[in-house]
């Protein structure tokens, strides 16, 4: 059987696709005469696949040969599958030719572990050196570090890439031990700490020496699998917060577990991926990064999982009704951000508009505030919205919960229809913590 570049691309993108990160954000870099490519801080999506995910980078494995045996992974050594690999020049040609046609923003390179973690990283360095130094590629490169590799090699790899990631995948040590016997918490967190330190050193060097090389200027990220193990949302979101604080990660990605393997320790292959749960975790992640929330405000030991019917911010607001209603014309930015229906853009617009005149409900509407949700939590010039009746906390809760029984704008929530609807009573019980 002859394996051509088409087959390799098919196999190596198919086995890389479960890595959800495809962002090309975090760094601005101008193009240079004699080279091709630049990088844009906001990131650019070049297409969207049939599953609605952004395609920004050519996401492939260098090879799907792997000596590890992680139970949840399609490339595990015990899986009987065709093994192939790109040569450095095949990979460079493919990247450059896709990039010239504006198909992609750059390359996302990951790999199975070939002989040893060190050997694998050496191969990846070879590929990226060819791309950067011979093809003069200035576009975005996201590279996966291999757990267990030497720090000297990780440092060299980091100088060629814009972003580096090490996937934690399983949110607890117990889960790792069961399902990824070749990885340990230590083998993942040690390089993560190394990358974090290198990034900080690099930014201080840049202050001192203008031409110092940049070490992963777009920062590092990681991924956690949701739903393969019994770990709770509380555990996941607390871990996420810790990673942002301790390792200064740029992003933590969540991936609803897609059953790809039959194993007694894993959910059966017929299990539906918990897409709505993944969506709630992303919403909570946004609250941590942009809305000034702390993980402990969102979940605790008594409420270890997110309510699937109500988003985390709304849930928080309903449990803190004593802080509402909020006067739009006086409330500080931090509190505006906590109103359901007001986002970062909306809150900034309110601050701007307040400078020239006081705001009423029709003004809020013009600024793009979602009144349908915000109305229960705000007053404008001391008044609540005309015709709005609030009899008791119960009414508000019911009203908010009812909205979620309607077909929602979030496509992810379609999975709701596969289950019986949760009733209003359930939601109230859930909100008051009686379940």
């Amino acid at each position: 059987m002859i394996i051509d570049i088409y087959d390799k691309l098919t196999i190596l993108s198919d086995s890389a696709k479960y890595d959800v990160a495809c962002t090309s954000s975090g760094v601005d870099r101008n193009g240079k005469l004699g080279s091709i490519g630049n990088a844009v801080k906001a990131g650019i999506c070049h297409s969207f696949s049939a599953d609605g995910r952004c395609i920004s980078l050519l996401k492939v494995l260098m090879t799907n040969v792997c000596i590890f045996d992680c139970k949840y992974c399609v490339n595990r050594v015990s899986n009987d599958t065709l093994r192939v690999g790109f040569t450095p020049s095949e990979l460079a040609e493919l990247t450059i030719n896709f990039y010239r046609r504006n198909y992609i923003e750059g390359l996302f390179l990951s790999s199975g572990v070939i002989k040893s973690p060190n050997n694998t990283i050496e191969q990846m360095i070879k590929s990226l050196e060819l791309l950067r130094n011979v093809y003069h590629f200035g576009g975005y490169i996201h590279v996966k570090a291999i757990p267990g590799a030497d720090s000297e090699l990780i440092t060299r790899l980091g100088l060629l890439a814009d972003r580096m990631s090490i996937n934690i995948e399983l949110p607890s040590q117990e889960s790792l031990k069961l399902l990824a016997p070749n990885k340990t918490k230590e083998s993942i967190l040690r390089p993560m700490g190394l990358i974090s330190t290198k990034i900080q050193e690099s930014s201080t060097d840049l202050v001192k020496f203008r031409h110092a090389s940049k070490f992963v200027p777009a920062g590092q990220s990681t991924q956690l699998i949701v739903g393969a193990t019994p770990d709770t949302d509380h555990k996941i979101i607390t871990l996420t917060e810790g990673l942002y604080k301790k390792y200064h990660l740029k992003r933590v990605f969540f991936s609803a577990y897609m059953p790809v393997a039959e194993h007694s320790l894993l959910p059966s292959v017929n299990t539906k991926p918990p897409l709505l749960r993944e969506h709630r975790l992303y919403q909570a992640d946004w609250l941590l990064r942009f809305y000034g929330f702390e993980a402990k405000e969102l979940l605790d030991e008594q409420h270890p999982n997110f309510n699937l019917q109500v988003d985390p911010k709304c849930n928080w607001a309903l449990n803190h009704l004593e802080q509402f209603p909020l006067e739009i014309n006086k409330a500080p930015y931090e509190m505006l951000l906590r109103v359901p229906g007001i986002g970062v853009t909306g809150a900034r617009r309110i601050l701007t508009a307040r400078k020239s005149s006081s705001i009423d409900f029709s003004g809020l509407k013009k600024m793009g505030i979602v009144l349908k949700r915000a109305q229960y939590f705000i007053t404008c010039k001391g008044k609540i919205l005309d015709g709005l009746k609030i009899t008791s906390d119960g009414a508000i809760r019911a009203l908010m919960a009812n909205q979620y029984l309607l077909p929602s704008p979030y496509p992810e929530q379609l999975s709701l229809f596969n289950e019986p609807f949760i009733t209003r009573e359930d939601v109230q019980q859930c909100l008051t913590g009686q379940i």
Partner: protein
């Protein structure tokens, strides 16, 4: 100031021309109710006042914007002119009137209908141009790259910097079918030229091969169990598909 409801200005469709309409309105102390670009159908008894383009007058208006309002307002007006907002001329004119009255404060009047409409139109323009930074698809013809787009707004001026920086050593052209314009970049120089029609030759075997590889990657990377056509449609509406390699039929 006489507010004649029937006063119509007609101008040559250029940004300079529009600024001259503003100049005329202040010089004559009159307020037009319509500012008409060329090519718009006029009614039988239409008595539009023709406003001649004059660089000097336009400069005076343009330079007065940062001086009397703010440089952000100047930027907003410049971008506003590239939008596809219906009656964008009148919108810009009314925004400037507000600006010359209230000064820099006009930029905070987000609940004012005119300010709100202009900001929305500009947001539509900038978000469309951001989308095209990703959705533009080049085909290789010999040494040159060629792409065709069908945008709603006039996005080429906004795309110019991005693509010229990215493809410094290339020669490329982006043809805007909607506005019959093309951005042409060669030998490190970019220009916008008017192009009525573009007929492209057949592509070569290498081009066909890379299209095939890209289509295959596009199909493979989607996870079947997460299929979500509605989400894709929201993020990448169908009107873009016509010019995107991965969604074209062979």
């Amino acid at each position: 100031m006489p507010d004649r409801t029937d006063l119509i200005y007609a101008y040559d469709g250029s940004f300079v021309g529009l600024l001259c309409c503003v100049f005329e309105s202040y010089a004559q102390k009159e307020i037009p109710s319509v500012i008409r670009p060329p090519g718009v159908q006029q009614s039988l008894f239409d008595t539009a006042k023709w406003i001649e383009s004059d660089e000097h007058k336009a400069d005076r208006v343009f330079n007065s914007i940062p001086a009397r309002i703010s440089s952000q307002a100047q930027e907003l007006v410049k971008l506003g002119f590239l939008t596809c907002a219906p009656h964008k001329e009148l919108l810009i004119y009314q925004f400037l009137r507000l600006g010359f009255t209230y000064g820099s404060q006009v930029m905070t009047m987000l609940t004012n209908d005119t300010v709100c409409a202009l900001q929305k139109a500009v947001h539509h323009l900038t978000s469309e141009s951001h989308k095209f930074k990703g959705f533009v698809r080049f085909s290789v013809y010999g040494e040159a790259l060629v792409a065709v787009i069908e945008p709603k707004n006039f996005v080429l001026p906004l795309l110019s910097l991005h693509f010229c920086d990215r493809f410094r050593n290339e020669a490329f052209m982006i043809y805007d079918k909607t506005n019959s314009m093309a951005l042409v970049y060669r030998s490190q120089k970019a220009e916008l030229i008017s192009v009525d029609e573009l007929t492209l030759p057949e592509v070569d075997a290498t081009e066909v091969e890379y299209r095939r590889l890209w289509k295959q990657f596009y199909t493979t990377v989607a996870i079947e169990g997460r299929n979500n056509p509605r989400c894709r449609m929201t993020l990448m509406p169908k009107r873009y598909w016509g010019q995107m390699t991965e969604l074209m039929h062979d």
